[in-house]
Structures are given as structure tokens and as C-alpha cells.
Symmetry: C2
Subunit: 478 residues, 2 copies
């Protein structure tokens, strides 16, 4: 499956001159001395990661090699792709962001509007939020007799996903009966454990595995991300081949040569040495906005950690922001250039768009518009990106540009793997464990308590006392 | 036109107990003493705003009163709503974010997927970014002979909007000929000046006014936001009535009673006295995500300003983040609770969703799922919001909750006006001019220069020299 692509080299470039002190000033840019200082730490952590991987850890690194899984998924996808008019993914966070990013990058943005003849695969709906308005509208819009459902949760504990799934399941049973409903459901879950595994076994759903030992936010290159992508017609073989190309390129321990380590070093140095507590990702392509949202989860959940250093509590983590060029030039750039100098800005530039639109016809009589005669939208967008990088640099705002030749499956695979390795190295440089998310347990438990789940009675009492409506700090409408 | 609604009172509530020091600790919460200290400043600035308005300034405050415009827009919208299958809005930033927020809040999220019989008005497409892939896909998806286009730019200088518009215009002319094309174009622009005004007059487009003296980001309650909203079937009379209700409520100078001034004081105190440099807005409703994006522009462009105070340069402005509950509990809450305590978090709670989905059928044999039996998705989402507010507070992260009874036109109008007044008062408290966006000029000029526009030759030379490809800080794919 696309193994020939392994012969291809990584095609991604990084231009970080505008992140250096020489460009934006010593208080705001990274220096060569800082990179020199970090080089041995990076090399040491690189060796540690390699040793852990050799000992059976860091299993996310193996996902790009699983071409047998690609075959299995593609076989299944080929069976269902033209059989169903609608496809509903039920999952939240790491169980949906990767699939959304992939489908958005690689398929027509109007796939759900297009007639089935020109679409290529089913319409794609995501039930992530348990928003009753959205869920009700989805169930009213799709013909359930013609709908495949993929529910994704490793543990089956996720309240939002299980609630949404049970709502879809009962609607499906009402529409087609329990027997057929079971055939229209595919579960992606732990191969052996958990509530969804138990339910899938009990009901006889077709299942795909969530890989054991991999955090949810690192599963885009497993069945979690690839099954929905393949059903929507994405080239998942190409995705994994791209990830392998980046993996092969990122084997060097040299912080200046390894793209993932370079980005990790720039971001962590900017955060910890230069007070750039915010990391903005600005792709100049609508197709990559979902990638920016996927990365936002990865960076926040992995590095946003409380830790003890020298008996002191430290709250680590840069705050990621998803943005979109050129749109956010008309929303955020005023703040980014004249507000607090607290951001590192990552631009993503696209060399060749998959379509181009040329302006041939500029009306006479408005000479100020003549500069658009013969202009192409893609060229305009590229120049906006260059102009923004320049203007940020002039204002001493550190920034760097990731360059991609075009948006395709392989480059998306490169980006996924790049960001994952960058994040794991970022954790190492920050001294935090990039895996797990201990900080969300309190909120999850509080939700269970308020929902009246068995075993949470004490917390429920505490919560009800704390969230009563009487307070002098409440401005009512009365 | 819906004037009876003026009798209605504002229905929005604010619960800010979790933003107070008593709840989250003295280093992280606002104190009553801080509010007391700010009260006279707020009262003074309230008087100044009133005086400026009386003298003909602060014209954005008048927009909710223009019921004649509502009538004019509704008459036009009624003419075109059922005549066209597709509606394309061409505009960026303040010329599109308000319309997107309104249509998203008040119409079916799947309007473009639904057949025309059940939709109510045309399908809605926005060309904001000059992304050639998106523009080409839009032009391929719609039947141009059955498409109305609304181009929105006050000056007609905006490169992205004019480029996108010229691309759509030539496609329209090719499809239906120049005569009919002109009838399918509506321009919202300055009543007297600018390039789009000149073009509209020359070609004979129907036009609607961008109100003079109002910044683009404050025009949602003018034809800029209301024309697209009305064409898509939104109740714009209700929108303005809600804005008037908030305007009437917000006439008090009392920082503790005026919702806009209270929020301004909380945000500015958190930013300047408590180091909460980030303001996160988290609606618990998919329908309000566009509102969060609209507010993100308003807050960033208005307050992100460089200024001189006591001969020192100050870079002002809190960084706004758009988020969505409960989705971002699975993406950002780990960082928000265990990362740096540098955020003020604004939750938006909805009392009654416009649809509810109840879970009747929970499979036997999985007792851990029994707590979902009889659960309703809307109730779940409300409890997630309460649980998150509680968990943030436990982690000493300041937060407040804006409560809305339901998402409808009037409450959306309330929210628009609330946030506008909050922002203008925020500027006053920060000592910055909330109008204008001087910081984006450099980037705009750089784009013109790179596009070869007359008069920008010197800048072009400078730019080409600065952005050459030779640099040791470039990691290539070779």
C-alpha cells in the first residue's frame, strides 16, 4: 500500500530566521548561543526517547509502519464508501480532531453539499459536542437507513461520546430495527478492555483498535484517524508514507537539522527564556485550519502540566492559538503587532495550491484596482503570508514559517508526525510528562456527580453547595 | 417591525463570584476594593461617552435604533430569499464575522445540506479568505445563474475582498452575461466614497450603506451584518430589539449594575492587576461559536494597541481565545487548570436549548452506563458547564458565567451590544483608543508592494531584499 512512497524524502521546509535575535532583537529572538546550549540536552533526550522506544515505550512512533492496518481499513472503506450516503463520526477531542483535520485537508470543502455522483464517498458528519440542537439537526438531516456510524472512545467512559452514541443508536434502531442498526455501527475502541469494548462484543459491532499505550491525542495515524479518513476517500497509505518520511528525516539528534527538535527548541526557548507564553499557528490555507486545531489540543494537553521543580510548584505550558491566514490579519494582527510581545507565531506557507483562480477581468474606470489585473488568488495569499512575516518581524515579533510544497496526504502525514515528535521533545525540554491529562479528572468527576452516577454522591453534595444560585456577585435580569 | 419587543427587558445574567478573590485567591481574583476603586473611573468614562455621543460621536450606539433600515432590508430580503438557491457573501474580518455569527446562531447548522423546500432561504457561502482552493470549490458547487452575491467593504481597498469579488464577478458574467450579473450583485459600502462605491455606481449595483463613522468591527447591527442575516431568514428586527434592551439596561454608570461595565472592569483588572493576559470565551452551544469568533476580533483589534504613557511605550491588550464547551474540555482544560494561571475564562451558559435529545434506551449489561438512562443531552451540557466552572475555581482559575435563557435573535442582539460597550469601556479603562487599527497598515502596504501596486515601489525593493531565500536559518528538504 503506497510503500513506494518510502523512497520519497520529506518535503517540508522551515525558515526560522525571523525567530532569531538578529531579526527581532535580543529580548525577543532566540540566539545561536541558546541553541548551542540546548543542543546537548536535545541529544540526551533523543537518546532517552530511542532507548524507551527500544524497550517497548513511545509506541506512537510505530503507528506509521502499520501498513497491514491500512490494508484492513481500505478494504472495509471500499465496502462501505459507496453503500452509505451518510457517515457519522461520534467522538470528541483526540477521537475526532485528527479525522476532522484529515478530511478537511484532503477532500472537497463542500462534500456535504455536493450530490453523491460528484462527491466520492458519503457525506461526513461529526457528533463531538453533546449539543442537543446540533445532534437533533444531524438526526433530522440524514436518512438513517442510509447511514454508517463510527463511535470512537478507548475506554467507553467519555460521557459526551457515550451520550451522543446512545442517542444515535436509539434513533438508528427506531429507523431500521436493532438487527440492521448493529450492522451500521463500527466501534473504534480498546482491543480488550472498557465499556465500549464490552458493548461492541455484546452487540456484535465490527470493531477497529485504538492502539494500546498511545494517548488519544497521538492516535491520528491509527484507526482512530484513518478509518473516517478512508471512508471519506482520503489516501491513508500516503498519509502514513509521509509520516514515515518525516520519521526517517527526524532521526538525527542535531537540534539544527532535526525539524521536530528545532521547532521544539524554538518554542520552549521562546516560552521559558523570552516570555513568549503564546504559540500561534497560522496556516495560509483553509484546508489546514483543522490541522491547527488538532495541534492546539496536542500542545495544550501535553505540555500544560503542573510539576514540582526543586520543591517549587511550576505551572508549565505555552498556550496554543489556532488562526487562519489571511483572515486573521483582519482580526488578530493588530494585537499581534502592537499588543504585548508575548507570542511566537508559526506561519504555514503553501507553495502550490491545488487550484488557482486568475483575475482576468478588472473593470475599467477604477485605476486603483489595476494591480489586480492578471493576479492569481494563490499568489495573493502567498504574498500576504510574506508580507505578514515581514511586518511581524519589523515589529520585533518572533515568527517562523513552515513551508509545504502542496497540501496532500503525504505532507499531512509529515506534519502530524513532525508535531507529535516536536511535542514529545518539548515535554522533555520542559521537564514535564507529555502523556496523560491529570488536570481534567476533577471536571470529569464533577460531571459524573451532577449526572447522578453511582459512587459520586459526596462530590455531588459538595458541588451543589458550591454552585447554589445565591450570591451577591450575580447580576440578574430582573 | 418588532418594536413591541422594546417592552421586553434584557434577559442576560452574569455570575462572577468565581472571578473574585474570595473564590480563587487574592493573587488571582478581583476584590471588592478593586471594583470600588474603579467605580469612579467608570462613572467618569461613562459621562465622557455620553457627552461624545451627544456631540455626534460614538455613532455605533445608534445602530439599534434604525428600524427604517430593518424595513428596507427585510423588503429586499423578502424579494430575493426565494428567488435564489445560493447566496455568496464576499467580505473579510468585520465585513463577514458578524453575519457568520448571526446565521450560525439563528439558522439550521445544515442549511447548505438541506433541500430547498425545508431550508428557508438560499444556501449560504462566505468568501472571506482569498484561498484559491476554497474559491474554486465554491464556484464549482453553486449554480451561478441562481446565485445572489453580496460584496462588503467600506473602502473597496481591501485586497482580499476585491480580489475575491472580481473572481466571482467574472465567473458570474461568464455564466449569465454582464447585464444579468449586475442584477445579481448587491454592494454594501460607503454611501459616498471609495472604490467599491465608484464601481457600484458605474455598474449600477443595488447598494446598502456601511454606516459612516463606525469601525468595521462594530457594524454587525448595520446592513453589513443584517442584510446577509435577513436573506438567510434571521429575525433582524428581533436582533435590534435585543440590542436596544441591552442599551437601555446599560445606561447606569454603576460598575456593579451595568453588565458591560462590569465585564470591562473584570477583564481589565484581571489583565492589568492580576496578570491574566488571556481572555477565553467558551460558549456551551455550537450555535454561539461564531459569536466567540466575532468577539475575538472586537477585543483584539480594539484593545491591542501601542501607546505612550508617561513617556514610556506600553503594549496593551488581552489576547482573546475562542473556544467551545464541552469540546475544549477535551483539548484545553488540562492547560487551563494545570498550566500557567494567566487566563480569565468566560463561560456562556444556555438555560433552554431549542431542541432536546433524551436517551431512553441504554443497553443492559453495562451497569456503568446506567447513569445515562433518561439523561438529556442539553442537561448533560449544562452540567458540564457547571462542573467546569467548579473545577476551574478549585484550581484557582478566575472565571465568570454569562447566562442566556435561550439562543434567539433578541439575546444575540443583547450579546452584540453588550460586547461592544464592554470593549469601548475596556479601551477607556486601558487608556487606549478602541477605534482604528494602525498596526495592520504595514502588512497591508507590504502586500500591495508585493502585488506590484503603483506607488509602492520603494517598499517592494526593501521587502524583496529582506525576504530573499538565502539564510543559514532555513532547513530545506534537500
Amino acid at each position: 500500500m503506497n510503500d513506494h512512497r518510502d523512497a520519497e524524502a520529506s518535503r517540508l521546509t522551515i525558515d526560522y530566521r525571523n525567530a532569531m535575535a538578529a531579526a527581532v532583537g535580543p529580548g525577543h529572538g532566540v540566539t545561536d548561543a541558546m541553541l548551542d546550549e540546548m543542543a546537548p540536552v536535545v541529544a540526551e533526550q533523543h537518546a532517552r526517547l530511542g532507548a524507551e522506544h527500544a524497550a517497548g515505550g513511545q509506541r506512537w512512533m510505530d503507528l506509521p509502519s502499520d501498513t497491514a492496518l491500512v490494508t484492513e481499513i481500505e478494504t472495509f472503506a471500499a465496502e462501505v464508501r459507496d453503500r452509505y450516503e451518510n457517515f457519522i463520526l461520534v467522538g470528541i477531542g483526540g477521537s475526532s480532531l485528527g479525522a476532522i483535520a484529515t478530511v478537511q485537508a484532503l477532500t472537497n470543502p463542500f462534500r456535504n453539499v455536493l450530490p453523491s455522483e460528484t462527491r466520492g464517498g458519503p457525506r461526513f458528519f461529526v457528533l463531538d459536542n453533546p449539543d442537543p440542537e446540533k445532534v437533533a439537526a444531524t438526526l433530522e438531516t440524514v436518512d438513517l437507513s442510509n447511514t454508517l456510524v463510527n463511535v470512537v472512545t478507548k475506554s467507553g467512559q467519555t460521557a459526551e461520546t457515550m451520550a451522543n452514541f446512545l442517542a444515535v443508536r436509539q434513533a438508528l434502531e427506531a429507523a431500521v430495527g436493532p438487527e440492521r442498526a448493529r450492522q451500521q455501527i463500527v466501534a473504534t475502541t480498546d482491543p480488550a478492555e472498557g465499556l465500549l469494548r464490552a458493548l461492541a462484543d455484546q452487540e456484535g459491532y465490527r470493531t477497529f483498535p485504538v492502539p494500546p499505550g498511545v494517548d488519544g491525542r497521538m492516535t491520528v495515524l491509527s484507526a482512530v484517524g484513518m478509518l473516517p479518513a478512508a471512508i471519506c476517500g482520503c489516501d491513508i497509505g500516503g498519509l502514513l508514507a509521509g509520516a514515515r518520511a518525516m520519521r526517517a528525516r527526524a532521526t538525527t539528534a542535531d537540534v539544527r537539522q532535526n525539524p521536530a527538535y528545532l521547532l521544539a527548541a524554538l518554542c520552549i526557548l521562546a516560552d521559558t527564556r523570552l516570555d513568549k507564553s503564546i504559540l500561534v499557528t497560522v496556516p495560509y490555507a483553509d484546508a489546514l485550519f483543522g490541522l491547527s486545531d488538532w495541534f492546539r489540543q496536542l500542545w495544550a494537553e501535553s505540555l500544560g502540566k503542573r510539576l514540582s521543580l526543586d520543591n517549587e510548584v511550576v505551572y508549565a505550558g505555552q498556550t496554543p492559538i489556532k488562526a487562519l491566514g489571511a483572515i486573521d490579519q483582519h482580526s488578530q494582527i493588530q494585537l499581534y503587532t502592537e499588543g504585548p510581545n508575548d507570542k511566537l507565531i508559526s506561519l504555514i506557507a503553501v507553495e502550490n495550491y491545488r487550484a488557482e483562480v486568475a483575475i482576468e477581468d478588472v473593470p475599467d474606470g477604477i485605476p486603483e484596482l489595476d494591480y489586480l489585473r492578471g493576479a492569481e488568488l494563490g499568489r495573493l495569499l502567498q504574498r500576504e503570508q510574506l508580507a505578514t512575516a515581514w511586518a511581524l518581524t519589523e515589529a520585533q515579533r518572533p515568527n517562523f514559517t513552515i513551508g509545504v510544497p502542496t497540501v496532500d496526504a503525504a505532507i499531512l502525514g509529515e506534519l502530524f508526525y513532525l508535531y507529535e515528535l516536536q511535542t514529545v521533545m518539548g515535554g522533555a525540554l520542559l521537564n514535564v510528562n507529555p502523556f496523560g491529562q491529570p488536570g481534567v479528572e476533577a471536571g470529569k468527576n464533577a460531571t459524573y456527580a451532577l449526572m447522578g452516577r453511582d459512587g459520586y454522591e459526596t462530590l455531588r453534595e459538595e458541588l451543589l453547595a458550591a454552585t447554589g444560585t445565591e450570591s451577591q456577585y450575580r447580576l440578574s435580569s430582573g
